[in-house]
């Protein structure tokens, strides 16, 4: 079995040109920033060759840009690798990982409707959580979200 050092070294040499930054935060957590165009290559390597489990992806609106963190856990060395990609806030586009494994299907749908990230190549991009009457182009998890519904009641009436 590989050790933690071997895994990290292997990733660093194999994806020398893709990795922008590597933050070794603690024995159990590693944050690795990569270029957005490399996500399919790096993501599928970690999932398939390193036999990681895909935890989830967190989309974050960081005001200046949009970030996605893909969290993978490697149980055999008790390590959680978070792949960070930074996208342009005006037009966030990234390749879909659904071609590689099925676990990302729903979370990509969720990020697309709540944060407005476009996933190229997703097979069934439709709404997951929000209702049909929700207006296009309004993304509730963006920091600049404002109430669009004029009929909403936000006081308790007392």
């Amino acid at each position: 079995m590989r050790t933690r050092e071997q895994v990290l070294k292997d990733l660093q040499t194999r994806f020398k040109d893709d990795i922008v930054d590597l933050l070794d935060k603690s024995p159990k957590r590693v944050y690795m920033e990569i270029k957005p165009e490399s996500i399919v290559r790096v993501g599928s390597y970690i999932f398939k060759d390193l036999e990681a489990r895909f935890n989830i992806a967190s989309g974050v609106d960081a005001r200046s840009h949009i970030e996605i963190l893909y969290h993978f856990s490697l149980e055999y060395i008790n390590l959680l690798i978070s792949l960070r990609v930074k996208l342009d806030r005006k037009k966030p586009v990234i390749d879909s990982l659904t071609t590689e494994f099925k676990a990302v299907n729903w979370i990509e749908r969720e990020m697309s409707e709540l944060l407005g990230i476009e996933f190229k190549g997703h097979p069934e991009m439709k709404r997951l959580l929000l209702p049909d009457e929700w207006p296009e182009g309004v993304y509730p998890l963006r920091t600049d979200y404002e109430e669009w519904d004029k009929n909403a009641i936000r006081d308790r009436g007392v």
Partner: protein
């Protein structure tokens, strides 16, 4: 008192509807049916279709996707049909009042007869609430 209302009070059949709750209230409703509380001894029965029901037990904070369907269901219910709001969420939306997906409280969508507060209300409170409902309809 009409025949229908009299029959209803003898054995109110309830239909349970969750409109975006955390499940706790729903479980406490189911709990009422199980041996320790056993509301079936009062003739109350949980039914599977709104068309058989006299009482609508609503839990949850009425999110956008549920609210429209809730209204449709209420219109399908045979009259007289009374609505019981169970739990803080269906009373005032509780913690979720500022949620983007919960725009209006339950009583602005359909008329509510009895409110049972609590997060979640204990089964005793739910039974107490339904008993109050019966007294209210009887006018005692």
């Amino acid at each position: 008192m009409s025949f229908a209302v009299n029959a209803m009070l003898k054995s109110p059949w309830v239909f349970h509807l969750s409109t975006g709750s955390c499940n706790n209230c729903d479980i406490e409703i189911l709990d009422c049916l199980t041996p320790r509380f056993d509301i079936e001894r009062f003739g109350m029965l949980l039914v599977g279709s709104i068309k058989h029901a006299d009482v609508l037990l609503v839990t949850g904070s009425c999110n956008r996707k549920s609210a429209g369907r809730l209204k449709t269901l209420y219109e399908q219910a045979p009259q007289p049909c009374v609505v019981v709001a169970i739990g803080e969420c269906s009373l005032s939306r509780g913690l979720f009042i500022h949620s983007y997906n919960c725009p209006v409280p339950l009583d602005k969508i359909i008329p509510v007869s009895v409110y049972i507060p609590g997060c979640p209300p204990k089964p005793e409170a739910i039974i107490g609430g339904v008993v109050k409902l019966i007294q209210k309809v009887k006018g005692t």
